[in-house]
């Protein structure tokens, strides 16, 4: 579904990603773990082209999205949803409008269709009663659930999560993780950058350990968490678990 081949990202003097290659299957949930500054977020942002890769190729359903002569970046992004650490809800729109704006403006849905879809999504994230609330009136956890609904409204083929619970109060983390678990069980293709090892262990089909712009180790959660092979992985996990 998503195939990354020898991905590099450079900012002037900084070499952030040093040749990432991996493949994510349809319906697979992949968690990316690793220390801060290891390039996890950059990797994620490259997948939906929020960052322009310096080198290498990304294929989404066998289409090379790094080939700008042939693809429309905006269409690629519409197919790959993203959930941010800081939610990034649109503060001038209600929860409902946050969810409907993209389908209406980009997919050309009628307002009724979009609202129909939005109410179903709000139901799914348990916030049907908050449809008319503005982001500032919602807790962090509620905002993040709305943000997930917003991403889902575009019916994306995959969802990318960039540390979705890192900006939340501890007591709100679970409600967001629950929504994510439901999505995983429904077969959504998900790539999750996270520090929630419990979530990774429980939900992920595969865990990637990244450091210094490279994938140092990958495998099933059991393999990574119980019997890590790489020294760096061991060191990291010993500090975190």
């Amino acid at each position: 579904m998503i195939k990354v081949v020898n991905l590099h990202k450079r900012y002037r003097h900084l070499h952030v990603l040093k040749g990432i290659s991996t493949e994510i299957q349809q319906g697979e949930v992949v968690c990316i773990i690793g220390p801060s500054g290891s390039g996890k977020s950059t990797f994620l942002r490259c997948i939906n082209l929020l960052e322009k890769p310096s080198e290498g190729h990304i294929y989404i359903e066998n289409i090379d999205v790094t080939d700008h002569s042939r693809i429309n970046v905006n269409e690629v992004r519409a197919e790959v949803g993203m959930v941010f650490q800081r939610f990034n809800l649109f503060p001038h729109l209600t929860a409902l409008e946050n969810i409907t704006i993209a389908p209406v403006k980009i997919r050309g849905l009628s307002t009724e269709e979009a609202q129909d879809r939005a109410y179903k999504l709000l139901e799914r994230v348990g916030l049907r009663h908050k449809a008319d609330a503005y982001p500032e009136q919602l807790s962090g956890g509620q905002q993040q659930r709305i943000a997930i609904a917003r991403a889902l409204a575009m019916k994306p083929k995959a969802l990318l999560f960039d540390e979705p619970t890192s900006a939340l109060d501890p007591e709100m983390i679970q409600e967001v993780l629950d929504v994510m678990k439901d999505l995983a069980h429904e077969g959504m293709t998900m790539v999750v950058v996270t520090h929630e090892m419990g979530f990774a262990r429980e939900v992920a089909k595969r865990v990637l350990f990244m450091d210094d712009g490279q994938i140092l180790e990958e495998g099933t959660p059991q393999a990574i968490f119980s019997t890590p092979k790489n020294e760096r992985t061991k060191q990291f996990l010993s500090k975190i678990l």
């Binding site: 939906n48 929020l50 519409a78 941010f84 990034n88 809800l89 704006i101 993209a102 403006k105 575009m154």
Partner: protein, 327 residues
């Protein structure tokens, strides 16, 4: 006002003529008279410090030629004491005209309608200039942030030039600098003078545009980059993200600084008085050349400006408070 003064002069002149006419028709008498007229009439007369029962205009008789008298006129409560006038009575008919100055409050009251009308012009000029400025500035402000080198450069030069040169110089450039160019373009070579109103409006609009552009740019850039990223991640084009996500938020934040720009422009518009544009300051200058009373006039002009700006200052403060709570 002008008419009134002229009228009084004419009346006084006719009065003198009538008086002298009747006198001329009569056989030459030895009576020595002194006719006292004033502007306004109906003033109390103090002759050598002694208040007379009658008021101006008045003809005193039974005077001795060579007699020296001092006249002071008063007309309370709206007029001040006139400057003492010494008169040496000559044989025959004597005439003396004494103007009585208005008190400061009556002076201000008298010129208030004229100044308020001029203030209306100032307000009108400012409203149109800022309105144009908002249109120019919105485009220029957006041109400064979009990813287009050419637009960035053009907008940058315009803003830097306008903000980096004095408004007075810009006014001169437009009013005095462009007529020869227009003449040259028309092929006649003769400078084509521009109406002061047009120059003033042009200069103020262009000036305002640059400042509004900076306000809009700052407003757009004050929106968290996450907003743009979130919009783009949903598949919006840069244009769509700007239109539906960034600008609606930016424009809300931009309202208080725009109010400040309006206040600044209201004050700065006084500079167009130098090219003869008849607004508040210019009007005041014209009045002063006639009345020689700069103190009261400028205080009044200052107060009128204050009364115009104060409500906007308060409004801006209120909007800032409200935006702060909703952010």
């Amino acid at each position: 006002m002008k008419l009134k003064v002229t009228l009084i002069f004419v009346v006084a002149f006719l009065l003198c003529l009538a008086v002298s006419g009747t006198v001329l028709c009569e056989p030459v008498s030895e009576i020595t008279t002194l006719t006292i007229t004033s502007d306004p009439e109906g003033a109390d007369i103090y002759l050598n410090g002694q208040k007379l029962d009658q008021q101006t205009p008045l003809t005193l008789e039974n005077l001795q030629p060579g007699q020296e008298i001092e006249l002071v006129l008063r007309k309370p409560p709206l007029y001040k004491k006139s400057i003492p006038k010494k008169v040496t009575v000559k044989p025959g008919k004597n005439n003396v005209f004494i103007p009585i100055p208005e008190t400061w409050y009556y002076y201000m009251w008298l010129y208030l309608p004229t100044l308020l009308k001029a203030a209306g012009m100032t307000l009108f000029l400012t409203i149109i200039a800022v309105f144009n400025g908002i249109i120019i500035g919105t485009f220029t402000g957006i041109f400064r942030v979009v990813h287009n080198k050419l637009l960035n450069t053009i907008a940058g030069i315009y803003v830097d030039f306008t903000r980096g040169t004095p408004l007075l110089v810009q006014i001169f450039m437009i009013h005095f600098g462009t007529p020869p160019i227009i003449g040259h373009l028309l092929g006649t070579g003769n400078p084509v003078p521009i109406n002061p109103f047009v120059s003033a409006l042009l200069a103020l609009s262009i000036n305002s545009g640059a400042y509004v552009a900076e306000i809009i740019r700052a407003g757009i850039q004050s929106i968290d980059v996450g907003q743009m990223e979130a919009a783009r991640s949903l598949g919006m084009t840069y244009r769509q993200a700007m239109r539906f996500i960034i600008l609606p938020q930016a424009l809300k934040r931009v309202i208080p600084p725009l109010g400040n720009e309006f206040i600044a422009m209201l004050k700065d518009s006084s500079l167009v008085s130098v090219i003869g544009m008849e607004e508040l300051v210019r009007r005041a200058q014209v009045i002063i050349t006639r009345t020689y009373r700069p103190t009261e006039t400028w205080i009044e002009v200052g107060l009128i400006f204050l009364i115009m700006t104060l409500p906007f200052t308060r409004l801006v403060a209120y909007l800032e408070r409200r935006l702060k709570t909703s952010d």
